[in-house]
Structure formats: structure tokens, C-alpha cells
């Protein structure tokens, strides 16, 4: 779950990372409470690249600021309307640095990633430095080590190290996947300040981070309508352009099935992984979700029951067929409790296909 800038900065401040003294406004008129000029107005959207699209403006006086706030509130950034504007005093930037903490597969644990120059194109930068936090055991010297790798010297080593100490606190305390300060600036007085920040909370950890309760929905602006609905009931759906609805269990099998649909000349309208251990109700919700797409000509169900009980899936399919007797349905259902499921399907009049290639070819033929 990616947080907005002002939310990230709130967590920064709680852990002692300096940020500009900002104010969040939700109506343009609130700008008149701002007393410090020149100021920066930043649209609070989740998508990146807002600066280039006009989402960040500077204002020298209240009238100027009011006009710009109105503009920003009316500005859609890649389909995302701002829910707020963050107003901050304009700061004097002597230097920009990039720094983040995230889990890295290759290092089998968290790493500190930083670059001596901040900026939006950091992913492609050659100057990225890495300091692994082996086994998740952090100690202050790791932040200072990064400081020296960045070429910082003197008091800046301690100042930067101190920022990383606090960033580690943010990272662990909130079960983050990523905490990033970009840019971390050095201001005119030599202080290190987080000018912009990005935090992604690990979604598997939300259940033990009560402070984020109920916040997920408002932080998923980059999803399509069905994708959003799916997410809200733990169904992982990705919308595609075709007319074959795919419902599988497990990411690998779902991807393989999608690949196979393309391979046999079909076009999937979506990709839906119901996950492990889905019961009848969950599968029913998944079926309804796919069926709600009017482009779907045929629904291809491919379930291999391991932790998923085939009987639960069969009952959901039976229910689906009862409601939509004319829907095109190609079903492959194999695995734990397969015989009992077979019986339910027979009784419901749903034919099953045993071989995956056959099932996919059949679905492609129906959809063509």
C-alpha cells in the first residue's frame, strides 16, 4: 500500500526525520491560512511524475497561491484526482540525495540504497550505492557506511547516518516494503531535510499495523474498477483487452494459462488468481467479478486443487451455472477431492475437460 507524500512525511516526522513545515489543504480557500511565502503547492496523488505534469507549483503571494491551488485541484494526474494539496515553504536546496530502504531478493534481506544525486530518474542511475543490512540486523554504522560510499565527509557523515537510523525506524515500525526519501536535501544551513518521500506498507502486514486500518481502498488509484473491487475482497485480478475470462488458482498456473490462451491464438480479457484455499463463496465472488465484464464471451476455469478443495470450486460453479444457464463455461478441475467435485459438476450439467491444452483450445474456439 503506497502512501501519499503527506502521509509518508507524517511517519518520517514521528521517527524524527526533519521535513519542511507543511500543511495539508483539501479546499483551495484553505491556502489563505498559509503565512509563509514563497511556498510550494504539491498535488497529493499516488502516481509518479506529477512535477512534469504541472502538479507542483510555486507561489509568491496568497492570490498567486490561491489561483494555483484551484488549478491543481482541477488537474488530473494520469487518471488520479488529488485528494489534497501539501503546502510547504519553499526551501533553499544546496544539494539533493536519494536514499531508501527496501527488501532485496538477491541480498535476502533489507538493503540501504542511495545515490549522491537525488531526482526522479533514480532507477536508471549509474551512481546507485548499496549497503546490505544482513539478517535484518541494523546498527548505526551502516548508515554512516553509506554516507562514506556517497562521498560525504565530516559532520555530513553523522547527519546522513542519523537520517538512515530514523529511516530504519520508519521501515521496521510500520512493516514497510519500501521507505524512500527523494530528494533528501541539504538546505542553506547544512541541515538534512526530507523534501519528498515515498512509503509502501507491506500489504501482508496490514493486519498487525492497526494504524492503517481501512486505508487500503483510498490508496489504490492505479487500478481499474474490477481490479479495485477484486483487491477489496482479496481477489487478484488484472484486466486485459480480450474476451476470454480466466480464473485459476495460483499465480504460476494463472500465468501459464494466460500464456497458453495467447499461444493458441486467443485473447484473455483478464487474469484472475483466486489464491490458495479458496472456498465456495470466494470462488463465487471471483466468478461474478469476471462475469461482470461484458466483453467476456467465455469463462475458462482452470483449478488444480492442492490447498484448494475441488468440491468448493464445483459448488461455486454449480451456483454460477444456475444463475447464468447460458454462460459459456470451460472447466478443468483436478486435484484434492476431485471425484466428489466431478459428481457435483455432472449433476449440474457442466462438462469438464481433463487436459489443459484441450480446455484452452475449446475456450479459444468459443470466443472466436
Amino acid at each position: 500500500m503506497r502512501l501519499r507524500e503527506y502521509e509518508a512525511k507524517q511517519l518520517f516526522r514521528e521517527s524524527g526525520i526533519p521535513t519542511p513545515e507543511g500543511k495539508v489543504i483539501r479546499y483551495a480557500e484553505e491556502i489563505f491560512a498559509n503565512k509563509i511565502y514563497p511556498c510550494t503547492l504539491k498535488t497529493q496523488v499516488l502516481t509518479g511524475g506529477r512535477g512534469k505534469l504541472g502538479g507542483i507549483q510555486f507561489a509568491d503571494d496568497p492570490n498567486d497561491a490561491y489561483k494555483k491551488a484551484q488549478d491543481i485541484f482541477a488537474l488530473e494526474i494520469k487518471g488520479d484526482m488529488p485528494e489534497a494539496i501539501l503546502v510547504e515553504p519553499k526551501v533553499n536546496i544546496k544539494r539533493e540525495i536519494y536514499v531508501s530502504i527496501l527488501i532485496d531478493r538477491a541480498y535476502r534481506g533489507p538493503i540501504i540504497m542511495a545515490a549522491a544525486e537525488g531526482g526522479v530518474e533514480i532507477e536508471s542511475s549509474d551512481s546507485i550505492q548499496i549497503v546490505p543490512i544482513t539478517g535484518g540486523n541494523y546498527s548505526s554504522y551502516l548508515g554512516r557506511k553509506m554516507a562514506t560510499q556517497l562521498g560525504l565527509t565530516g559532520k555530513d557523515v553523522l547527519k546522513f547516518g542519523n537520517i538512515v537510523n530514523r529511516l530504519w525506524d520508519v521501515y521496521t515500525k510500520n512493516d514497510c516494503d519500501l521507505v524512500e526519501i527523494n530528494p533528501l536535501i541539504v538546505d542553506g544551513d547544512g541541515n538534512f531535510v526530507a523534501l519528498d518521500g515515498k512509503i509502501t506498507i507491506n500489504e501482508d502486514s496490514l493486519g498487525r499495523q492497526p494504524r492503517f486500518d481501512g486505508m487500503l481502498g483510498a490508496h489504490l488509484t492505479d487500478l481499474g474498477e474490477r481490479e479495485f473491487k477484486g483487491k477489496m475482497c482479496d481477489l487478484n485480478i488484472v484486466e486485459l483487452e480480450g474476451n476470454i475470462g480466466i480464473l485459476c488458482n495460483g499465480a504460476g498456473l494463472t500465468m501459464a494459462t494466460m500464456d497458453l490462451v495467447f499461444h493458441h491464438g486467443g485473447k484473455p480479457s483478464n487474469f484472475l488468481d483466486v489464491g490458495g484455499g479458496a472456498n465456495k463463496d470466494h470462488v463465487t465472488r471471483a466468478l461474478d467479478l469476471v462475469a461482470s465484464d461484458e466483453e467476456v464471451k467465455v469463462l475458462l476455469v482452470n483449478i488444480l486443487g492442492g490447498i484448494t478443495d475441488c468440491v468448493e470450486v464445483a459448488n461455486a460453479l454449480k451456483h454460477y451455472k444456475e444463475i447464468r444457464p447460458k454462460a459459456n463455461l470451460v472447466v478443468r478441475l483436478v486435484g484434492n477431492n476431485e471425484e466428489a467435485a466431478q459428481k457435483i459438476m455432472n449433476d449440474a450439467g457442466i462438462t469438464m475437460t481433463n487436459v489443459l491444452d484441450d480446455a484452452v483450445k475449446q475456450a479459444v474456439a468459443v470466443a472466436a
Partner: protein
């Protein structure tokens, strides 16, 4: 023969009194796995699925001689359960639990490495040596015993391939479902090494998927360490970049983790790459007669 588990493996189930733990204990028992006990703190002294429940892993190990633990406890309790098994000296642990917070996974694997314990998972289907032993959630009936070793990041796709092979009359020495999480214990390299050393495995199938660089690393490892033929497959060739594919969260981002990159790495390592699951079966069929010559 086989790798990791066989008919002599003595298994305990952590979380045996939970719904999932109980269901899969019964399925494992039905398959023939030697389940010697279960662990649920606070429920010691009960009997579930005909085996004793203990309050702690160390007690279970002491009383049953277990040398393997399968973990079915809820995500936020899984780290503690795994640390308990590591501390109790269990040499092989399979963490079936999905949704373990990544920061917990880091601690789990650091502790396991320190003690030299093999951890399968988390978020994995477990391991099966057909005809001998099943740990985890694989549907046992879709595999048959044989001489092919199977390594897979994906659970259900493992079943798909096992089933395809069985339908073609080909069996497996062992199938290792390594799990789809970013940080796992028994990975592709460890599994490859075990199969290379197993006298009863002739061919290895390596099932990867988009995201990360594990396949590229495995390919490097194969180049210098694996003499047996390896057949590869990568799921997600047609996945749109930037989208998380499924619950396991495979993702192509920043131009990394693409199927092309993995396919190239496989090919450079002499791994034959199948484009569909059924092609894997075809490739195995081609290699098998060549070997019996």
C-alpha cells in the same frame, strides 16, 4: 531414492489443530506420510488425526524422533513457529503459510542459515517424493514415482506438470515446490544440487516465472555445476509489465525479471526451454530414450 524426504521421514505438523492443518494432515496420512505428531501450544495432550499433539516442538521431537516439520500456522505466528522448530533441531522445515511479512521472512532465513537448517518456503506447496512421502499441500494422486526431478516456484503449476507427466507415464523422484516469495530457503540452486547428487534422478525440470533474477542465477549455477539434462519453463511470458500477477506478486518492473531474459539465460546454460506445460512433457520424452541408450 529421492531428495529431502522419503519413506523414513518422520513428520510433525505445527498448527495441526487448525482447520488447514487438520485437513492436510489427513491428506498427508492418506498418502502414506509418516506423521508422528503435531504441535499446537496450549493444546498439548490432545490427539488429532490419530497422533499426539504437543505444546512445543522440542517436546514433540523428543517424544517422536521427528526430523521434519510442516508449518500451517497463521502468518503472524509463522516466524515464531519456524524459530521454535529451528531451535528444537529439526533439520528440514516446510513453511506452507502464505502471507508471512517479508521482515519476518528475513529473520526466519537468517536464523535457519546460522543453524544450517533447510527451510522450504514460506508460501509454498511443500515437497513430494511420489509413493513415499508428501509434506505440504500437493494433491498426491496426480504424481507417480519415477526418475525426473521437479523444481518449481509455483504451486499449482507444479501439479499441472506432475499431472501431465503422469498422463504420459512419466514419474518423479521428488517434486520440490520452492515457493513464490521473494526470500525463500531451499531455492533453485539448492534443489539443483540435491538432484544432481541423487543417483535416482536422471533429468531435472526447472519451472520458473517472471520477476526477480532467480532463474538467471540458477542458469549460471547450471553452467558449471549440473551435468544432468535440465528442462526449463517460464510462466508469465505474456504478462503486462508493471502489474502484480496473482497473490504471489510476480512482477516485471524497471525492465527486469522478464521472460526473455530468463529464457536467454536458460538457453545459454544449455537448458532446453519449453513454451507450454505440455511441451515440457514432450521434451522429457525426447531426452529419456536418449538417456537409456
Amino acid at each position: 531414492m529421492s531428495v529431502l524426504i522419503n519413506k523414513d521421514t518422520k513428520v510433525i505438523v505445527q498448527g495441526i489443530t487448525g482447520g488447514m492443518g487438520k485437513t492436510h494432515t489427513e491428506l498427508m496420512q492418506a498418502y502414506g506420510t509418516n506423521i508422528v505428531g503435531g504441535v499446537t501450544p496450549g493444546k498439548g495432550g490432545q490427539e488429532v488425526c490419530g497422533v499426539p499433539v504437543f505444546d512445543s516442538v522440542s517436546e514433540a521431537v523428543e517424544k517422536t524422533g521427528a526430523n521434519c516439520s510442516v508449518i500451517f500456522v497463521p502468518p503472524y505466528l509463522a516466524l515464531d513457529a519456524a524459530l521454535e522448530a529451528i531451535d528444537a533441531g529439526v533439520p528440514l522445515i516446510s513453511v506452507i503459510t502464505e502471507g508471512l511479512p517479508p521482515q519476518d521472512a528475513v529473520k526466519l532465513h537468517a536464523a535457519a542459515e546460522k543453524k544450517g537448517v533447510l527451510v522450504n518456503g514460506p508460501n509454498c506447496p511443500g515437497i513430494i517424493t511420489p509413493g513415499e512421502c508428501l509434506i505440504g499441500i500437493h494433491p498426491g494422486s496426480i504424481y507417480m514415482p519415477g526418475r525426473v526431478g521437479l523444481i518449481s516456484r509455483s504451486g499449482t503449476l507444479t501439479y499441472e506438470i506432475g499431472l501431465g507427466l503422469k498422463q504420459a507415464g512419466i514419474g518423479l523422484s521428488t517434486a520440490v515446490g520452492i515457493g513464490g516469495d521473494p526470500i525463500i530457503g531451499i531455492d533453485q540452486k539448492i534443489s539443483l544440487k540435491l538432484f544432481e547428487e541423487d543417483p535416482d534422478t536422471d533429468i531435472i525440470i526447472l519451472v520458473g516465472e517472471i520477476g526477480g533474477t532467480a532463474e538467471e542465477e540458477a542458469a549460471e549455477y547450471i553452467k558449471t555445476n549440473i551435468k544432468k539434462p535440465v528442462i526449463g519453463y517460464i510462466a508469465g511470458r505474456t504478462a503486462p509489465p508493471g502489474k502484480r500477477m496473482g497473490h504471489a506478486g510476480a512482477i516485471i518492473s524497471g525492465g527486469k525479471g522478464t521472460a526473455e531474459s530468463k529464457q536467454k539465460a536458460f538457453e545459454a546454460a544449455g537448458v532446453q526451454v519449453a513454451v507450454t506445460p505440455s511441451e515440457i512433457v514432450e521434451l522429457v520424452k525426447q531426452v529419456l530414450p536418449a538417456m537409456s541408450v
